[in-house]
Amino acid sequence: MRRFFILALVAALGTLPGSTLRQLTLDDMIRQSTMIVRGTVQATTVQYHGSTIFSHYSIQVTETYKSSAQTAASSIDFGVPGGSLNGAIQRVAGAPNLTPGQDYVLFLWTSKSGLTQVIGLSQGLFSVISTPGTAPTVMRAAAAEQTLNSAGQPVTTNDINMSLSALKAEIASVLGTQTTP
């Protein structure tokens, strides 16, 4: 009986407050994102959506893992909350930090108004790490920046860190589809 309630903790207390974030599992993100793509990003514009400044980026899509009407385009626009415009500086804790030219896998979500964002602020942002002679891996972008050991090797945590091929297979499995090359 007690074990049952411990199991229930994941659902019940994983949602307790104190942060803006709620942890999404990889499967959550696969299901709840409206598109999943790989590509490199470039900063484009900064503009208001309502009262909030969004910094916009375009991603030059090299692979599509989950399709939407937008993914027919080779370049997709998405926004990150926060930025500087007309003398106003707005900042949002947890907003993803994107490096222009970096290779990413992005789990994107488009709102009713048509604004596309990274799912879960930074949760849906993965760096693709390609090392010559080895298969590419993906890891949560922030973790890739922060958890390197003294030899410069990524430190394994319980956060997502897997091969790109395994990620693609997981996406295909959850969606019950084949990924689009």
């Binding site: 903790l9 207390l13 407050p17 104190g18 993100m29 707005q90 804790a93 972008a141």
Partner: protein, 677 residues
């Protein structure tokens, strides 16, 4: 053997310290230099010189959430949001107050005066429940005592569909999570960043905040040092020093002061490793330094901290990967043996204890971090940072999850060498064990003696080479959680509406002092007034005003942090007057307002006549939807007539008026309508 060490040589009784600028803390920080030295932080905060009565007005969108959880209502949401804001206003040592300014229209021209707005948004992606946008211009101003970066506006966004909130589902306004989330977001709005000491400003990974005691000592110190009342700094002490991995100071290392009987207070180091922790209540403290954890689960930075910036806006992040946690001791390099070798540092009011330095050793990664503890109420409701009864005959299981507690990829093998204990000897943790897969938890049995002292207790997670401290891992309490068994409408001897509340574990009067109220009764987040108890032992409570037919949830909170929601996740309700829909419709209130417009710069008295209203002197709040119209006084002449003195900075139609009395919301923008449950 414990050693109390008085760092007398380092205490400087310098009156100038009382007026000195605060350093560090988990604030939003700018260094006004591009070359250094980076040890003079300039904080982002509301400029009290720009506010009237040190009050930041906050507004709630007049566009209610498109979809609310079953049984919830717009007024209930407003009540809970107002309750969450009041948490910060009630910090006596902070000058800053939050004043409810009523409803606002998001599409209206943005206000130019400082304020906070709460909106319901369709632009919140899955994985988020709420977020706060914090706006500055980047220009420096002189605040009340120092150079600051003034916050011009903060906006808190909540989901527009409160039934599809990521991983929560129905986001009920009475819930612990809704309330504490709002308190947390208001903290951001006022200038506080995430911390790691289990206060309300901690992230989900370590927070111990509850609806009954939302603020920890760290939160109180943080807001009080940011907006101190006159004389505050003379009542608290300070600790300063440096965290270095020789010879370099470490940027954004966390320094924490706590003891077995006191809650934790923390700050972050400057880029040069220096720190100064103000706002420490007098007492004896262990002080330790620990690294920020790696960014977890999609955080963009460690702990989602927005890094300080230099004068050119360049972020100044961490200059370390990890280091071993270290308590201050007589030994160069500190200690992890808290009980035997850590020093207790004496903090005295108005004085600085300096020289509390740390020389840390590098690690490739942290052994343990991001730990959170859970327990279960008698009705098996899971509770974070659970209450433990002092002197209980049997131990209580406390579960914990976090990084480094279990062997990687095993989920059912406790990390070899991991040992868990409680700071101080009056509470014990034993029988460390894992839960079987797929649940990545560990558990220990916790028992507290009657001498443990009430309040938050801290757990130590020791590994062979490191130590993780979880402040407020559990709380020692004297009584069970409150429980409400019935809510009965009644009238008092003067025919005023009261509510009789039956239950257990409620203490309207402190049994020791005889004066302090230990129990608060909330009606949709707004406190009722406890008049006393009757012969049957029922609490006699005057509820906040609301229109007839309105149904409010009723929750009891005790000062020890426990809530009736621990035992009854679905709370009792109280319906005002006759609940028939026909009667309610007939009683819908309306307003007649004169004059029709306000002119910019012209102080005006607005006359408001109500129909089916119950204005109450001291409780009725009038707003015009913008911080650019300052309401200076509300005079209630009768339940249906009031006058409002306003000073508008803009010209505006008075049709934007909204009047709130208790849980009753009357808004012209809403067509004078109210929505009942």
């Amino acid at each position: 053997m414990k050693r109390a060490y008085w760092v007398r040589f380092a205490i400087f009784a310098c009156a100038a310290l009382l007026a000195s600028k605060s350093w560090g803390y988990y604030y939003y920080i700018l260094y006004n230099t591009s070359t250094g030295p980076f040890n003079q932080p300039i904080v982002e905060k509301f400029n009290l010189n720009s506010l009237v009565n040190n009050t930041v007005p906050f507004f709630i969108s007049d566009a209610p959430p498109a979809v609310m959880a079953p049984g919830d209502s717009y007024q209930a949401i407003i009540g809970e949001i107002r309750g969450a804001a009041a948490v910060w206003s009630n910090v006596a040592s902070s000058q800053l107050k939050l004043g409810y300014g009523g409803l606002f229209t998001a599409s209206a021209a943005p206000a130019t005066s400082p304020g906070i707005e709460v909106e319901f948004s369709d632009e919140i992606p899955p994985g988020l429940v709420a977020y706060t946008v914090h706006e500055v211009t980047g220009n420096l101003s002189y605040g009340t005592d120092s150079l600051i970066v003034p916050i011009v506006r903060s906006r808190i966004y909540l989901p527009n569909d409160l039934t599809q909130v990521s991983t929560v589902g129905n986001f009920l306004s009475y819930s612990e999570q809704f309330y504490v989330t709002l308190v947390h977001e208001f903290g951001h709005a006022l200038g506080l960043q995430h911390t790691l000491t289990s206060g309300v400003m901690s992230t989900i990974y370590t927070t111990a905040a509850s609806k009954a005691t939302p603020l920890g000592a760290d939160d109180i110190a943080g807001i009080s040092v940011l907006y101190p009342v006159d004389g505050y700094l003379a009542t608290v002490g300070s600790i300063s020093g440096k965290v270095a991995r020789d010879p370099n100071g470490l940027s954004l290392a966390s320094v924490v002061a706590l003891s077995a009987t006191s809650p934790a207070i923390s700050i972050l180091t400057n880029p040069d490793g220096s720190y100064r922790m103000d706002g420490v209540p007098p007492g004896q403290y262990y002080v330790y330094a620990h690294p920020l954890p790696p960014a977890e689960y999609g955080e963009s930075t460690p702990n989602n901290i927005i890094y300080p910036t230099d004068v050119n806006g360049n972020p100044i992040g961490l200059n370390y990967t990890a280091f071993a946690t270290q308590f201050f001791s007589a030994t160069y390099g500190g200690t992890r043996d808290v009980g035997n070798h850590a020093y207790l540092i004496s903090v005295l009011p108005g004085l600085l204890t300096s020289g509390v330095d740390f020389h840390v050793s590098q690690r490739s990664s942290q052994a343990v971090y991001g730990v959170r503890t859970y327990g279960f109420s008698p009705t098996n409701v899971p509770v974070a940072s659970p209450p433990i009864m002092a002197g209980a005959a049997a131990p209580s299981p406390v579960a914990a999850n976090g990084e480094g507690l279990l062997e990687p990829n095993s989920n059912n093998v406790v990390m070899p060498g991991l040992a868990i204990s409680v700071l101080g000897g009056a509470a014990t943790a034993s029988n460390l064990r894992p839960y079987p897969p797929p649940t990545p938890y560990i558990a220990v049995d916790v028992q507290a003696s009657v001498t443990a002292g009430y309040g938050p207790k801290h757990m130590l997670f020791a590994t062979p080479n490191d130590l993780y401290v979880l402040p407020a891992a559990f709380s020692v309490v004297a009584n069970p959680a409150p429980s409400i068994t019935s809510v009965t409408p009644a009238t008092d001897a003067n025919s005023n509406r009261v509510v009789l509340i039956s239950g257990t574990g409620m203490f309207p009067v402190d049994p020791v002092s005889g004066t302090v109220l230990e129990t608060t009764i909330l009606f949709d987040g707004q406190p009722g007034t406890i008049q006393g108890t009757n012969k049957a032992g029922q609490l006699i409570v005057t509820p906040p005003p609301a229109q007839a037919g309105y149904t409010a949830t009723v929750v009891a909170l005790n000062a020890d942090g426990q809530s009736s929601l621990y035992l009854q996740p679905t709370p009792s309700t109280f319906t005002y007057g006759i609940a028939s829909a026909t009667a309610s419709a007939a009683l819908l209130p309306s307003l007649t307002v004169s004059p029709k417009t306000l002119s910019a710069g012209t102080a005006t008295t607005v006359d408001v006549t109500g129909a089916n209203t119950s204005f109450v002197d001291g409780q009725t709040i009038v707003g015009f939807g913008t911080s650019d119209v300052l309401v200076t006084k509300v005079t209630v002449l009768s339940p249906t007539h009031l006058k409002v003195a306003v000073t508008p900075n803009v010209s505006i139609a008075t049709s934007s008026i909204n009047v709130t009395t208790g849980l009753s919301v009357i808004s012209q923008a809403l067509g004078n309508s109210v929505t009942t449950k």
